[in-house]
């Protein structure tokens, strides 16, 4: 297993050492040390909550800049469905696609279209005896990492199908090679336009045996600024450009779009990282038995709420609704069987190239020695009793309890508790 490369990072120049991010991190991965926030890479799930919480722009996401792209190559843009919700008064998806071509991309392959194939594949998977119910969507990389780190018993319920952005990269590349026999595979580069840092991390963290079909991941913010210059609202769209995604793929941008498109009654859809954690806890307690499929998105109201998307997610959701109406969007027959043209899908067997090769196995945060950990927790519990229990965060740990364990582990000193020194003084 390779190291997980995080997109979210701290800019120490900007960080003031305040406690805003500390208290908002859902997995308690942040500590303030020497007046600066430090992220524990083993715990971080790249949800971006700290980026949202930071008032000093000190929490940032790394991604490929547009200036990193070599436009002399055959670049294929892979716009996330959420991109289409960023523009006011957008009445045809084609304006965006045209704008991307104007920016210098040679082709556009909509991730929404790939999402429609994922919907198909998921339906096949749910009907196969192999599927462990309730099956949990693996499209949001935050959720996948959260489950792998914290919900050991749910790992085998993740749907083992490639996420839409990855499938889009694969299909875009195959199409370009087919249609441009003069190109060598190295000439073709796929560029995902991402609404969130988690998908950057996902693409940059290549696990053993995994081929990643997304070569670059750019921020939706950056692309948006360029697109605004290139999109021509007043002119008719170039007649040669046609959006290939239908209403199903576009609906993936907002919560319950993915689940509803499965046409399966027993589904649950939730968003917002805290809500998601509650649902996962309930799933682990075995209390949600009547459900077949669970769609979970770290951001609310779905991918449109990602921290790299320029527009307020709720407004973007409304704009997508308007776009669906104004452009008369329909269900496009993007059937996975059309790509397959064979009978490989018979019997509910999903061809291996659509399967996520990074096995969804439990990755304990450390490899704890139980006895040592028990002793540490015992000491920490005793120490926590003596702490002020205000969870103020001034010590640099998110809660008094976390602080106690940090002290026991030698990662903090009791004197860091300001309130306690005051109480004693």
């Amino acid at each position: 297993m390779a190291v997980y490369t995080h997109s979210v990072y701290v800019d120490p120049e900007r960080c003031t050492g305040c406690t805003n991010c500390l208290r908002r991190c859902p997995v308690e991965a942040i500590r303030i040390r020497q007046e600066k926030a430090v992220i524990n890479a083993l715990k971080c799930i790249d949800c971006g909550e700290c980026i949202r919480a930071c008032k000093h722009n000190a929490k940032r996401a790394s991604y490929d800049k547009l200036s990193d792209l070599d436009f002399s190559k055959h670049l294929i843009a892979l716009p996330a469905p959420s991109l289409f919700g960023q523009f006011n008064h957008l009445d045809e998806a084609e304006y965006v696609i045209n704008g991307l071509l104007e920016m210098g991309f040679k082709e556009v392959y909509e991730v929404a279209r790939a999402a429609e194939y994922v919907t198909d594949l998921t339906r096949i998977y749910l009907n196969s005896p192999k599927a462990k119910k309730p099956a949990i969507s693996s499209a949001c990389p935050v959720i996948v990492r959260l489950i792998k780190l914290r919900f050991p018993t749910l790992c085998d319920q993740l749907v083992p199908i490639l996420p839409p952005y990855e499938l889009a990269g694969k299909l875009a590349r195959e199409r370009a090679l087919r249609e441009h026999p003069e190109l060598s595979p190295d000439d073709i580069k796929t560029v995902f336009i991402s609404p969130c840092p988690a998908k950057v991390s996902w693409a940059k963290s290549i696990m053993d045996g995994q081929t990643v079909h997304v070569d670059y991941v750019t921020s939706m913010n950056d692309v948006y600024m360029e697109l605004l210059k290139k999109m021509k609202r007043d002119e008719d769209c170039n007649g040669n450009v046609v959006s290939e995604a239908g209403i199903v793929g576009m609906s993936w941008a907002t919560t319950s779009g993915e689940a509803a498109s499965l046409m399966n009654e027993g589904y649950l859809a939730a968003d917002g990282i805290d809500n998601v954690i509650k649902v996962l806890d309930d799933l682990e307690s075995g209390t949600l038995s009547e459900i077949n499929f669970v769609e979970l998105n770290a951001c609310s109201p779905g991918c449109v709420g990602g921290v790299l998307a320029p527009t307020n997610g709720f407004i973007a959701r409304l704009r997508l609704q308007n776009l669906r109406k104004s452009s008369g969007m329909v269900v496009k027959p993007n059937d996975i069987a059309d790509i397959e043209k064979g009978d490989r899908l018979k019997g509910g067997v999903i061809p291996p190239e659509y399967i996520e090769s990074d096995a969804f196995t439990y990755m304990p945060e450390g490899a704890p020695n139980m006895l040592a950990m028990m002793l540490a927790m015992k000491k920490a519990d005793a120490l926590a009793e003596k702490l002020p229990k205000k969870d103020c965060g001034a010590c640099g740990s998110p809660t008094c309890k976390a602080f106690a364990l940090d002290v026991v582990n030698g990662d903090a000193q009791l004197s860091d508790c300001v309130l306690r020194s005051q109480m004693e003084g």
């Binding site: 050991p152 018993t153 139980m370 015992k378």
Partner: protein, 141 residues
């Protein structure tokens, strides 16, 4: 280590939305300690059932978790009505839960059978009019 790691939880009988909290907290502790996932799953399912039982039938109670290197012991104690016929209560589908509770999706008569199924050993000590005390044992080795 001679002494067990001990955690205590008040199970609030007046509050359905909090039911399940003790089992969620326990699950986190066990994961931190590195207890194997399959055992954690069994514990969280059984303990959740126990908590819900205490909320439905006994206006809450006390949940205690004792962890040693070899065993996890969960005790669930309440001063509720007690169980009149334990053998009957252990039958799947048997329930004395009132209609309004069943309407919420609880009281399917799987509580005690599930707790037994998802534990290595279960001991019930109950007296009508006095209360019920249940021990759930798990062997880690």
């Amino acid at each position: 280590m001679n002494e067990a790691l001990h955690y205590h939880f008040d199970v609030d009988g007046a509050n359905f939305s909090n039911a399940g909290r003790a089992s969620v907290e326990t699950k986190k502790l066990l994961r931190q300690l590195g207890v194997p996932p399959e055992i954690i799953r069994r514990i969280s399912v059984a303990m959740y059932e126990g908590e819900i039982n205490m909320v439905i039938h006994a206006h809450g109670g006390d949940a205690d978790v004792y962890i040693t290197e070899d065993t996890v012991l969960i005790t669930l104690k309440d001063v509720g009505p007690g169980i009149r016929d334990v053998e009957e209560a252990m039958k799947e589908g048997f329930s004395t839960a009132p209609e309004n509770i069943r309407a919420l999706g609880f009281g399917a008569g799987m509580g005690l059978p599930n707790m037994k199924r998802y534990s290595d050993e279960m001991h019930i000590d109950t007296k009508v009019g006095v209360g019920t005390s249940i021990e759930l044992w798990y062997h880690l080795k």
